[in-house]
């Protein structure tokens, strides 16, 4: 073969490959998913996108509970180079939508009628004014207790029916040489405990009034003081080494029998499953004890930034459609440990904890007993949830009285308004 022919051939080949690469649009997604189960779950979504003709360009920014990703995003937006789609938790998306930075997905919502497939209380985090700006893929429940079955049997206790009973069970666990509650002194972990107590003792309507609506009277009232009193009683139930402990390390304590239980969202379930433990046999999952059943949620969404490029825009639409695909939601959540955001997905393949979560959610939707959690930013805007974390975290580790704590909440909230 002579030289010019070679060059021609090479050029032809190069052009062919270039043509193929051009046909597939790359969609950049900025998110905080870095753990094994999160990455595995995300792959379900990106595989679906690949079949729709889009290449997912992964920009994962982990660490600092999502603060690093938020910082990265702010820098990118300020530089006029936002990612095609961004993962949002709680009010993060609403904040950007209010700034007018996000693309409206109304056409897709209207075409597919997605509103009807989602729990109504979710919509406020997907819609700013008249515009839908994001789609959800999952839902985590936050008010769970994870318990070691063998330890519970040894101490002769069963899942408690009230917080008073749970605290009393602590003494029985101590008697057999086990740390009753595996936890940490980190503000957000204590806040999880606290908001479960607030809702469980005073009912979901009170939670709505005091914490979602930030009503002064409710925030400083006797119900709040009572909740702080109960939280104070939990103080004696953790071990001395709880300083700065990671939530997953606390789950491990329950899994290996050092501790009796942990109060944590259902992302903790993965820690038990990863050790080969079976729900109901090796470990127990039950909602935090209450006479007024309620459901505290956290969910992940993706929204698209306004980018003047029709190819990118069709990719943003494809991400939304893939996320709302029932099959994708099912397979995604089987790996992630949460339940589908859609209410019409079959739960047959899921474990008992997930089935319970799905059933309880259906019940909570009917009873209007389903609210977002403060800890993960689904109750109030970050400047208010920060106040809850500060006050509750400080209360737990110091000798602050319940009355002072309730007053500090009201003062802090009003200062941040």
């Amino acid at each position: 073969m002579n030289r010019p022919k070679n060059i021609l051939l090479a050029t032809a080949l190069a052009l062919t490959f270039a043509g193929q690469a051009m046909a597939q649009t790359t969609i950049e997604g900025l998110h905080v998913w870095t753990s094994a189960s999160e990455v595995g779950a995300l792959k379900v979504l990106t595989d679906k996108l690949a079949t729709m003709g889009f290449v997912w360009q992964d920009s994962a920014v982990g660490g600092a509970n999502g603060a690093n990703a938020q910082q990265a995003l702010r820098t990118r937006v300020a530089a006029g180079n936002p990612p095609a789609v961004m993962q949002f938790l709680g009010f993060e998306g609403l904040g950007w939508a209010k700034e007018g930075a996000l693309r409206s997905l109304n056409d897709l919502y209207n075409k597919n009628g997605w509103q009807a497939d989602l729990p109504p209380v979710m919509l406020q985090f997907l819609k700013q004014g008249d515009d839908f700006f994001a789609t959800p893929i999952n839902m985590h429940r936050q008010n769970w207790v994870w318990a070691n079955k063998a330890v519970f049997d040894k101490a002769g206790i069963t899942p408690p029916k009230s917080w008073e009973e749970l605290i009393a069970d602590g003494d029985k666990l101590k008697a057999i040489g086990v740390t009753p509650i595996a936890m940490s002194d980190e503000g957000w972990q204590i806040e999880e405990l606290f908001e479960s107590i607030v809702t469980d003792v005073n009912g979901p309507d009170f939670y709505k009034k005091a914490i979602i609506d930030l009503d002064d009277e409710a925030l400083s009232g006797p119900e709040m003081v009572k909740a702080f009193d109960l939280l104070g009683k939990v103080r004696g139930l953790h071990d001395a080494g709880y300083t700065g402990r990671d939530w997953a390390a606390a789950s491990a304590m329950v899994a290996n029998g050092q501790a009796g239980m942990q109060i944590m969202g259902d992302w903790a379930k993965g820690e038990f499953l990863a050790k080969g433990m079976k729900p109901g046999i090796d470990f127990l999952c039950f909602p935090t004890p209450t006479a007024t059943p309620n459901y505290k949620f956290v969910f992940d969404t993706f929204g698209g930034f306004k980018i003047n490029n029709p190819k990118i825009n069709s990719g943003q639409d494809a991400v939304a459609e893939a996320m709302m695909d029932p099959e994708v939601e099912k397979n995604f959540n089987l790996i992630k440990g949460s339940i589908p955001a859609r209410t019409d997905v079959s739960m047959d393949a899921f474990d008992d904890c997930a089935k319970r979560s799905f059933a309880d959610r259906a019940e909570a939707i009917k009873n209007n007993a389903m609210w977002g959690s403060v800890t993960d930013g689904f109750a109030v805007e970050p400047r208010f949830s920060g106040v809850f974390l500060d006050v509750v975290g400080k209360f737990f580790v110091s000798d602050m009285t319940s009355q002072d704590a309730a007053k500090a909440l009201v003062d802090g909230i009003n200062n941040a308004r």
Binding site: T243, G244, D390, G393, K394, S398, A408
Partner: protein
Amino acid sequence: MKRSIRFSDRLANWLPRLVLTPSLLVVLVAVYLFIAWTGWISLSSSNIVPRYDFVGLEQYVRLWSTPRWHTAVANLFIFSSLFLGLTTGLGLLMAILLDQRIRAEGALRAIFLYPMALSFIVTGTAWKWILNPALGVQKVVNDAGWTSFVFDWISQPRFAIYCVVIAAVWQSTGFAMAIFLAGLRGIDNSVIKAAQIEGAGLPLIYRTIIVPMLRPAFLSVIVLLSYVAIKSFDLILALTNTGPGSATEMPSTFMYAATFRRDQMGVGAASAMMMLMTVAAIIVPYLYSELKETRDGC
């Protein structure tokens, strides 16, 4: 001939300015322009992104009504004074001891200086475990038989800040020592000999002659370490993550949380301005007096 001399004179005059101009421009933009920008943001209602309106001192009022900010300011003073005092004192002591022509001085110097090579993240994580009552010092002593021994400062809001001091002093003392040692080596031996001939003992010589002669070394140590104290952000995050119950909050961690986690960019900018003013209020007079004296003295 005359003309060319004048040209090279002029060039010699202009060259330093020419060479310094680019870096001066970078500093002007990257430091002073952004200080001004932060000042502007601190007077606006900025939340999630910068907003260029004017709300007066509202964000400063909000800042000073936040109890966590008061903790942060108090901690900055506790931490900085203890950190500076202990590091300088211990560093000077170690330098004087090392300066006694002892054996294996090189090895000891390297050992003491080594912590400086670690990042604050590593120091913080290691000390987090050492100070944890269920893992570190307390457990070791308890297991050795002294079961009533308690050392749980890190989980006590009142004492946690001292844990940060311990870790920071451990990290930076070697650095202070190295600078003092260099200073000591620069002192002419004949001064000491002369004082000895006059009958002065070593403690007196160190107190009245050598330490005062180390003044430039003190200046370097204090300026460099104050800057470490103020930016102690990563140490706090790794060691206590501002806990327990915000007890180890510092202005730097406060500013980060306000700006990037709580959508209170205006409050964050106000706290940054307060930090700048505090630093300026302390460092500027000190630098001024130190540098003025050198100029007068020489």
